[in-house]
Symmetry: C2
Subunit: 141 residues, 2 copies
């Protein structure tokens, strides 16, 4: 092979992402939350009553994913969907009491995970990583 697989930075990023997501999944499992479901919850803990459109934009995800993740979260009893009165196409997503209660357990966990992941990495290095990844996104836009 002219270029080894690991030399493709895209593959390196991809595999790193998988490891990280796998670890997050493990840590969230006790709370019956999947990683991406947790991102929705984080947005709702900040402010609930958002519609799916907004969640889709904030998470840069296809709206179909949002639909399905919310169905799961609703089934678990963490959120409820309410049809918007003034525009019946739109649904607003609210936290249940159970969903609200998760925050105090999960936020410390994600913050602690962030510290674990970045331990031994300087602020400068982290800034460079952010800048380079942003540049890469620009490059393929």
């Amino acid at each position: 092979m002219n270029i080894a697989l690991k030399d493709y930075i895209s593959i390196f990023i991809h595999q790193t992402d998988l490891k990280i997501t796998g670890c997050v999944k493990e840590r969230l499992a006790p709370f019956n939350l999947a990683p991406e479901q947790n991102l929705i919850m984080m947005l709702l803990w900040e402010r609930d009553g958002r519609n799916q459109q907004e969640l889709s934009e904030q998470l840069e995800k296809d709206k179909t994913n949002i639909t399905r993740m919310l169905s799961s979260l609703e089934q678990k009893g963490f959120v409820k969907r309410v049809i918007e009165t003034y525009d019946r196409r739109s649904t607003r997503v609210f936290l249940t009491e159970e969903g609200k209660a998760l925050e105090c357990d999960v936020i410390p966990l994600t913050d602690e995970f962030h510290r674990t992941v970045t331990s031994g990495v300087t602020e400068e290095e982290l800034a460079i990583v952010r800048r380079v990844l942003s540049k890469m996104r620009e490059n393929i836009k």
Copy 2:
């Protein structure tokens, strides 16, 4: 929100990975190859006759993924599976003529994509990104 979603480097990496993979998917679509299927093909172009165990290790993927991706590649006519005579549990994976023929189209494409992604990024920056991502993997091992 105390920490915005984008401030979690894990999420930033994840979203970057999704953008990159999405772009790779588009570019490979004309060749009827999905991104991860292409990784298998790259290993086979280098040397075919590998067994699924080896592909699994090289790609750091669960063996179930390998099984399913190979089924798809086999159905497309790019590879064929042959049961190993000396150990009938093992199957060796070989390229078909059609599979071999893809190489000369796809390798230049992936190399060009790599150049596109990394354009405007210095070798030093790239080295830092690799080092930091490796460190992160270590941190959660």
